[in-house]
Symmetry: C2
Subunit: 514 residues, 2 copies
């Protein structure tokens, strides 16, 4: 038996674990991706004698949550710094789809939509299979409308109608005018700049520094870090007079870590996330004994196109055309196999069970709300055909089977009820009959990691013994419990803004240490 | 905001957290049960100057896994001590049902059952929804037959036919002659005694002691501990010359810890486990940075009767009569609602969705294989009636609805196909028509916690950085990954014996420290 922690073997600082095939390589290929860090020495006193810099609140991560936290902390009078490991700010948020759910909003009032935080809560718990931490989910729902209002005050522009996404009982999602999370991140970044909050990119969090008295007092970082080279950068210790806020996001791009929790999400499953969505921030919080919550629930996006990298743009065709106004069929059978508006988990699992790609299909009437269609066509992500036969041939679907499926679907639509899969038909949905026809391959990608560290409603990080860790806050995808087993579309931004703001306000008011 | 870890507030040693409703009480009633320990000081050097005792291998826990580990470690030449926190040995294993799955056994050869480790592996992965760590599940399957043989050599007596349990493709489960895990634990305990291995009861593990060099070197325990009084007992430091083996079991009885992972498993859900099945051993391993795996997967037993405590005996009626030869109906509707032989998770979820108790029903023909029926009747767990009407009245089911349900079921049976829920009918299954009729209330109980700390196939504990923790091994329910999302019945003992033996052998050969 080999002892890989042998004290004689000096481990490199934050060095990649080599997949040796030895005793610790428990999963084939598990070290093939992701940012597995070298084993760290159990340090007795981590607090440096001299700090390189000092600030009231250190925010780690520059997505929706981190930026919201920084803005609120600064507004509450604290000095703040934002640390971002990647070369550009915005994290995964800047490539997010730009939909934010809220209950009791002006848009809902205008459209006479009857909604409430309670209903939003119930929808989230139903999708979450009851794994949601009730008080966190309720906090998100109760503060959702205020969160939207807060972004509007920052200058965020939204489309003038609510979007009705799967799993939500009513239309309650605001949609940025540019159909992207960048529509929120950019005004947040402008506000950060206006407030004079420094944002340091290429700055890698190596350690959260906790003192013998149990309090978090700062961070050890590496500046001029070049992702993903964990040996790069120059060490610096930053004192946090009041608190550290972890807003480092999820781990959908961390192949090794996510495969430990769900081995199905292997190298064949790509991710919609930016490459920096790795687990080392989460792991560092676990090192400080943050309580791990529901880490094995990894959400796959059913609207992802395997013919493009990352999030891409094909999902827009899926969610705005094929799913609500068209159909999804299995390539091998030419048949529908699931309610195209079922929750993400149901749809993603169903697609993977087909064993081959699924194909999303809509006709000319079905794409009337689809933004960026020309770009999708140019990139070859979505393909256009004069006839269903031509579409079938291009996607290698048996023509007669596909025509039969479309005829059945049109008959259900005419009858007003989807007798096959119970899809709720949109009021303005028309039969699939008007050329040209559009088709796109579908295969799930890892999209959101529901699990994470435990928070309370004050955004304090809770440890294994159910105590808050003094001086440590968190918000956004690094945390678990808000969404339970399955996150509803457009609840992510709400989560990030609500808890980011709470973390920022509370961190700014936390007890300074002498 | 309160800071519950304020260094000025002295926390009591291992004191219960009071549910204060303050910032850290994140879930209503979450501190109502379970063994939440007080926050521990982050200690720099935990190794005592002087050890009270020394032994080569310390085994924590005295169930199937711990005893198997102790026997193998001693047989390999190590001095061993077994620590058990409860007043009596055997843990939850001693009240286990006594079924152990194995592929390629003498009984299968006798019955001409075509089986293989690969098929056993596939069954486990199917039930486990693909969350299984493949190499662990395969190790269990490959060593399963040898595990049974090992128990036979210890003197364990099995019934002379294989049992075919739900989810297994073929009959592959050995059943102890006394239908209890005690049939295995008692011979294990006898062997431990014969080998001269001391087993200390009422001995609580407070700390695993890890040195600055990263190696586990012993444990701090409290002897004369009175469960669950975390203030009781006398401290002692035991040096482990070679290794510590954690075999402390699952946390199905730990209301607070399990509710953090799955809030649905609340105080209304009892547990089949002995009261000592709490999480503090697992939490202590997490404190040492063992990697948490799939903690949110908690198995509920769908065959549990809410009218008796713990595992009870009513489950025998459910699994040998009502499910295979009878029906299960919702009390409120009088209707069946699920395939009574579906997997545990499907059935348990379905019962909880009824919102009221379910009732298991069988007639005189259906109980022909039901052991202990008289005892169940005496205890009032199962009730007997001359007519279906009388049964309906006693269980508050609408009589006509129940009669209609039974008539429909009998018609399906006659037709050879369960058109309602697809239950595979037993060959010797007869219509429900022969009085007396038997009924029992059903409501799920927490039964097994699939998640736990990460192991490799050498039973070494793997940390957050994917390195083994030197000197630390584990086996059994404290570990995660073997069963994935859902454990098949009778795979638990196999898991415990296989990995317990591996842990014992490897711990005995581990590098001694000077």
């Amino acid at each position: 038996m080999t002892d890989q922690n042998d004290s004689k073997n000096k481990v490199t600082r934050r060095g990649f674990l080599k997949a040796t095939g030895g005793a610790t390589a428990t999963m084939a290929g598990m070290a093939a991706g992701g940012l597995i860090l070298g084993s760290k020495r159990l340090e007795a006193a981590e607090i440096p004698n001299k700090w390189d810099e000092a600030v009231d609140v250190v925010v780690v991560g520059s997505g929706f949550a981190g930026l919201a936290a920084a803005i609120e902390a600064k507004a509450a009078g604290a000095s703040v710094v934002i640390l971002e490991k990647m070369p550009t700010p915005g994290g995964n948020s800047i490539i997010n789809g730009g939909l934010i759910a809220a209950a009791g909003t002006p848009l809902q009032a205008k459209e006479k939509v009857d909604d409430s935080p309670e209903l939003m809560y119930q929808d989230a718990v139903k999708a979450g299979l009851g794994l949601n931490h009730p008080e966190l989910t309720m906090m998100m729902a109760r503060q959702s409308a205020e969160a939207v209002e807060w972004t509007v005050k920052l200058g965020v522009k939204y489309k003038d109608r609510n979007t009705h996404l799967g799993g939500h009982s009513v239309p309650r999602s605001y949609y940025t005018t540019n159909s992207s999370g960048a529509g929120i991140v950019r005004p947040q970044l402008a506000k950060v700049k206006e407030l004079g909050v420094p944002l340091v990119t290429r700055c890698f969090l190596d350690r959260i520094l906790r003192d013998d008295d149990g309090r978090v007092k700062g961070v050890r970082v590496y500046e001029d870090y070049r992702f993903p080279d964990t040996e790069s950068g120059k060490m610096k210790n930053i004192r946090a007079n009041r608190a550290v806020i972890m807003a480092t996001g999820g781990f959908a791009q961390d192949l090794s870590f996510r495969m430990l929790q769900d081995p199905k999400v292997d190298e064949k499953v790509e991710s919609t996330n930016q490459p920096g969505a790795t687990a080392e921030g989460l792991i560092e919080a676990l090192r400080l004994h943050a309580n791990p919550i529901q880490l094995s629930w990894i959400q796959l996006g059913p609207w992802a196109c395997p013919d493009e990298k990352g999030m891409g743009i094909g999902y827009i065709f899926a969610i705005s055309a094929a799913f609500p106004y068209g159909i999804m069929v299995a390539r091998e059978t030419g048949q529908r196999f699931v309610n195209e508006l079922a929750d993400r988990k149901v749809r993603a699992d169903a697609i993977m069970k087909t064993g081959s790609f699924a194909v999303g299909i809509a006709d000319q009437e079905g794409v009337f709300r689809t933004a960026k269609l020309d770009t999708m066509l140019e990139r070859g992500v979505v393909k256009k055909f004069d006839s269903l036969e031509a579409l079938a041939e291009a996607f290698k679907i048996q023509k007669e089977w596909l025509k039969k499926t479309v005829a059945e679907y049109n008959a259900h639509l005419k009858g007003g009820e989807d007798k096959a899969f119970g899809k709720p038909f949109q009021k303005d949905c028309k039969p699939i009959a008007s050329p040209p026809f559009y088709g796109m391959n579908l295969w799930p990608k890892a999209h959101h990691t529901m699990g994470g560290i435990q928070l309370n409603t004050e955004a304090q990080v809770i440890d294994l013994y159910q105590k808050s860790i003094p001086g440590l806050y968190a918000a956004g995808e690094i945390s678990g419990g808000v969404h339970g087993a399955v996150r509803l579309g457009s609840n992510a931004i709400t989560d990030c803004i609500v808890f980011g703001r709470i973390a920022g306000k509370n961190a700014a008011m936390d007890r300074p240490w002498a």
